[in-house]
């Protein structure tokens, strides 16, 4: 095998030229629409070789092997063996390079075509495994670099980068596909892409496919301003145009070359083409561009964290890190963690997002729970509903490692200390997965009492990080907020350390501000004042409660006064409604029953609260709440009110139940002994119907264990046995997954013969339900409630 191509020797000395389209050429040579191009590596190798040769003759330095879609997941569906296709593909490109006596071979890695969990069904590690098998086969067959391209999802790109880096020593080039607004298919931004891929240690990043050179030229300045890495740009030959039933691209070789010249001048170091480009496009481009020298790479020192969608940058307006996802001192949150109540965690996150948090802290550590698994689930689920970057907050390095690996983006990591053991555990993770890490000024001796001691500790963190190759832009120092009730100068020491660290070490700072008021009454008074003092001292980020009005008032006023809020727009937006408008009218007094029937949540809660002063709770439930729900149910069945209204009434009833519970205690107010396990069956990911049924059953007072979607039969049986459930509810939307429903019922009959099974879903009918052996078929959400009520009645 020939010598590996030495990219380092060329990088930056002159532009490197990639090849153009492979698929476009193959279609002209007879590849059918829908046929897998990689099959031709085995069936028509000479044709593939010719395409490579044509690009080498045009002057390409790097040719991409015909391996784009040869991942095991896609190949399995097409009955092909991925590794064989990769090996054959890379060898063909290798042969072309050797015949030409020049050039390098890129192992081409495209997306799997699957969406990663939790939004999709492909587990992250399965994606890593699939890419890893391509990477190993490609490296063994003689690739010089890996080109991960046409990625539309940063999360999948992360899986691919990790796979290549963990299994080979190939340089990693990553190009992603954006639309004209600079958004990925997932909605991700260019800045997020730059932050995440740089954090993961990609060698070169850039743009390919989707757009022509003109549109990419417009996106390039944003990318150039946000990465210090070399940039690769492989545009299509313009935008596709349908002509006489064929797809054509509208930019010819000459015009393409002119734009590519501008792209080089705008700071790219490597260029080539994607769909629709031909050897002629590449030849013209090289003729025009070969004399151009590479612009120097920018020196960047931005401190940025990212989700798969967006970034949060430090150094401009102070950053709010929402602290509410944390069990410390919160019994309801602890209960949610013990019960694995992920929706509770998600609601906490969304409330903080709506209140103005820029980043969400995630801490799910409790001694009695499996923190690693809960942290992974919480992060995945949060990222499926919120675009905010997350702060991974754990004291356990194993949990941190798993969470950083699975996190979609470049995380804020909470935290490392100045202790040797802590830095040894955390810094390698930051190096491997990327991230910005919060350094607490704690040493082996504890928390230094003086500002000098904390500055010294901070310096130690910054210097040690550098030894691991972690730049100080990826560090934020937290000089620790101590309770002012325990030490008169506690706050002043923190503030002095804060401004000195900012000034002397040139790193950004954060504080968990709430600690300052520990042990004092009316804590918000002190916390908000301290927060302002810290902001004035140069605080860049605060871990705080964005749901606290006092804190947000201080924050918005500070931003307006400090020039971070242009024309005070954010301040005005937040407060213009308040004060001038009359206070919202108290809901017109209405009876509890009326409030529930009309779906008025707050009014129902208030009415129940008032009744609780004079009536026993059970009487409220039996003579007010239940009859109201019953009336609503009847009207739904008579079709005089509809599903959304039924849900509104159920919501109102829930508020009433909660008010009653406060007076009665949870135990005594338990409405039903019936436990119901519900799930959307294996293979089915449509869970809207199941979620509606769940809400209704819960609000009618049943204990509901929701197993989620795509649930294997074994998991349903296991949950029914564990929870001693008397009823199981299964949903399926597709005809194809009803088979899995049948299988689940069969297993339940075997493993838990006592349990009744109700089924529902768009494709089901009574007949179908009978065939698969269900006890009950619910044509709508209310029907399942009625069935559960009847069953509960029998069990009394």
């Amino acid at each position: 095998m020939s010598q590996m191509y030495d990219f380092k020797a060329y990088l930056g000395t002159r532009p490197l030229f990639f090849d153009g389209a492979m698929g476009t050429g193959l279609q002209e040579k007879g590849l059918r629409p829908g046929e897998m191009p990689e099959r031709w590596n085995l069936m028509r190798p000479e044709t593939i070789l010719e395409v490579h040769q044509s690009y080498l003759e045009a002057g390409s330095d790097v040719i991409s092997a015909n391996t784009f879609g040869a991942n095991p997941l896609k190949c399995r569906e097409n009955g092909m063996e991925a590794e064989a296709l990769v090996t054959a593909g890379v060898r063909l490109a290798r042969r072309a390079v050797e015949q030409a006596g020049r050039g390098a071979v890129a192992l081409d890695i495209g997306p799997t075509g699957k969406l990663l969990a939790p939004l999709g069904s492909l587990p992250f590690e399965e994606a890593v495994k699939a890419f890893a098998s391509m990477a190993r086969a490609g490296a063994e067959a003689g690739a010089d670099c890996a080109l991960i391209e046409t990625m539309g999802d940063l999360y999948e790109a992360k899986a691919a980068v990790l796979a290549v880096k963990e299994n080979t020593s190939l340089p990693v080039f990553v190009t992603m596909t954006f639309d004209q607004e600079g958004k990925l298919l997932t909605g991700g931004s260019i800045t997020a892409m730059a932050a995440v891929l740089e954090g993961l240690g990609a060698d070169v990043i850039g743009l390919n496919c989707g757009l022509g050179p003109r549109q990419m030229l417009e996106l390039l300045p944003t990318l150039r301003a946000n990465t210090a890495l070399p940039i690769l740009v492989n545009p299509n030959a313009g935008l596709p145009v349908e002509l006489d039933g064929r797809t054509h691209f509208d930019v010819g070789p000459e015009e393409f070359a002119r734009f590519m010249e501008e792209i080089l001048l705008a700071g790219a170091w490597m260029i080539g083409g994607c769909c629709g480009t031909t050897p002629e496009h590449i030849r013209k481009t090289i003729e025009r561009c070969k004399g151009i020298s590479c612009s120097p790479l920018p020196q960047l020192s931005q401190t940025v964290v990212a989700s798969g969608i967006q970034t949060a940058a430090f150094g401009d307006a102070p950053v709010i890190i929402g602290e509410r996802i944390n069990p410390t001192g919160k019994s309801r949150f602890k209960q949610a963690l013990r019960e694995g109540d992920i929706p509770y965690i998600l609601r906490e996150g969304l409330a903080q997002q709506d209140a103005g948090a820029h980043i969400l802290d995630v801490n799910v550590g409790l001694p009695e729970i499996d923190e690693e698994s809960l942290m992974s689930r919480a992060i995945g689920e949060l990222q499926s509903v919120s675009p905010l970057p997350l702060q991974i907050d754990t004291a356990d390095p194993a949990v941190m490692a798993k969470a950083m690996r699975l996190y979609n983006g470049k995380a804020l990591v909470n935290s490392v200390t100045a202790k040797k053991s802590s830095m040894e555990a955390v810094f390698p993770l930051v190096k491997r997965y990327g991230g910005v890490v919060i350094g607490l000024t704690i040493t082996e001796e504890g928390i230094p009492e003086t500002a000098q001691g904390r500055v010294d500790a901070a310096r130690r963190i910054v210097e040690t990080a550098a030894a691991y190759g972690i730049d100080k832009k990826d560090l934020i120092i937290d000089p620790l907020t101590m309770a002012v009730s325990a030490g008169q100068d506690a706050a002043l020491v923190t503030l002095e350390a804060l401004s000195r660290i900012r000034r002397e070490l040139g790193v950004y700072t954060s504080l968990g501000v709430s600690n300052v008021s520990f042990g004092l009454p009316q804590r918000e008074n002190v916390t908000a004042a301290f927060f302002l003092m810290a902001l004035q001292a140069g605080l860049n980020a605060a871990i705080m409660n964005p749901l606290s009005e006092a804190m947000m008032r201080a924050y918005r006023a500070f931003c307006a006064l400090s020039g971070f809020d242009e024309n005070c727009m954010a301040y005005i937006e937040a407060y213009r409604q308040q004060g001038s408008a009359p206070a919202p009218a108290a809901p017109a007094a209405c009876s509890l029953q009326d409030a529930i029937e009309r779906g008025l949540k707050e009014a129902a809660g208030q009415a129940a609260e008032e009744l609780s002063q004079t009536l026993p709770g059970l009487e409220i439930i039996n003579t007010h709440i239940v009859p109201a729900l019953d009336a609503v149910g009847r009207r739904f069945e008579e079709k005089t009110l509809f599903l959304p209204q039924l849900l509104m009434s159920a919501d109102a009833a829930k508020a009433a139940f909660e008010a009653v519970k406060k007076h009665l205690g949870a135990e005594a107010s338990e409405q039903s002994k019936l436990t119901i396990v519900i799930a959307t069956v294996k293979g089915d990911v449509h869970d809207i119907g199941k979620n509606i049924v769940k809400v209704l059953l819960e609000n009618y007072g049943f204990r509901v264990i929701d197993l989620g979607k795509d649930v294997p039969p074994e998991a349903v049986a296991e949950a029914v046995k564990r929870e001693n459930a008397q009823l199981a509810g299964l949903s399926a939307l597709m005809t194809t997954t009803v088979a899995n429903m049948k299988e689940t019922i069969a297993l339940l009959r075997q493993e838990a013969p006592h349990v009744k099974v109700m089924v529902g879903g768009a494709v089901l009918t009574q007949e179908y339900a009978d065939q698969i052996g269900a006890d009950f078929y619910g044509p709508d959400a209310m029907a399942s409630v009625r069935y559960a009520m009847a069953l509960a009645e029998k069990l009394k």
Binding site: R32, P33, G34, E35, M36, E77, G110, P111, G113, K114, L115, L119, G120, S121, T150, G152, D153, T177, K183, L185, T186, G187, C209, E242, G245, R246, T247, P343, R347, L350, S384, V385, G599, K639, L641, F642, L643, P644, Q645, L647, M648, A650, D651, G683, D684, V685, H686, I688, N691, I692, V695, M734, T735, T736, T737, A762, V763, T765, E767, D780
Partner: protein, 217 residues
């Protein structure tokens, strides 16, 4: 314009009232804010053989009697896919967590919006057809009748759907984002089969959303 009657039908409502109208208005604003519609289309030659129960699309043979019947008399057509994008799924998931009454409403509005976007994306195809005195048959999707879901694989590869517009397939051939459509659209010189109600070409007779109020052909 979004079809409000259609939205109400998805919600199982045969009439409306003030509360429902207010919920639908809110959901519509939220959905409109979240959508990033994208589509991809490919013009293909086709042969439909009703006797054999198969259709040849751009050289690939697919077995389906219903599709063959649906495309009878067409010699060309379009492969078609469109999606509202992932943010709509996230919006619906958000309502499930924070405001359950909005869940079915947003779901229904998004479903109607999907139809609307598909119809909009189809406009240039209609223009293409009318210039040539041809007619478009209604969209026919995997999952209708005996045109089984695994035919998604062919449409996804032929249109490079994942790469072009970001829809992905699960192992069971379910599309994510959910609010997505794939279809085969026949082009025919004969208008007679082109104006039938979409539902009536489907053999899922017990589908709860089946429209019975329009004439069967």
């Amino acid at each position: 314009m979004l079809n409000r009657k259609e939205i109400l039908r998805y919600l199982g409502a045969d009439a409306t009232n003030e509360t429902m109208d207010a919920l639908i208005d809110r959901a519509q604003a939220a959905v409109e804010n979240a959508v990033r519609p994208r589509h991809v289309v490919r013009h293909v030659p086709l042969q439909a053989d009703v006797a054999l129960g198969q259709v040849v699309l751009a050289g690939t043979v697919l077995s389906s009697r219903n599709l063959a019947r649906h495309l009878q008399g067409c010699e060309e057509g379009f492969l078609f896919a469109c999606t509202l994008g992932p943010a709509v799924d996230a919006l619906i998931k958000r309502y499930a967590l924070t405001e359950p009454p909005m869940l079915p409403v947003a779901q229904a509005v998004a479903a109607a919006y999907t139809e609307l976007c598909a119809d909009e994306a189809q406009r240039p195809l209609e223009a293409y057809a009318s210039e040539r005195n041809l007619y478009l048959r209604p969209r026919y999707s995997p999952g209708y009748g005996d045109f089984t879901l695994d035919n998604q694989r062919f449409l996804f590869d032929a249109l490079e759907i994942s790469k072009n517009i970001g829809i992905t397939l699960t192992e069971e051939f379910i599309m994510i984002p959910f609010k997505s459509v794939t279809a085969v659209i026949g082009l025919s010189p004969d208008p007679s089969l082109c104006h039938i109600n979409k539902c009536m070409t489907c053999t899922a007779k017990n589908c709860p959303f089946r429209k019975e109020d329009e004439p069967n052909v």
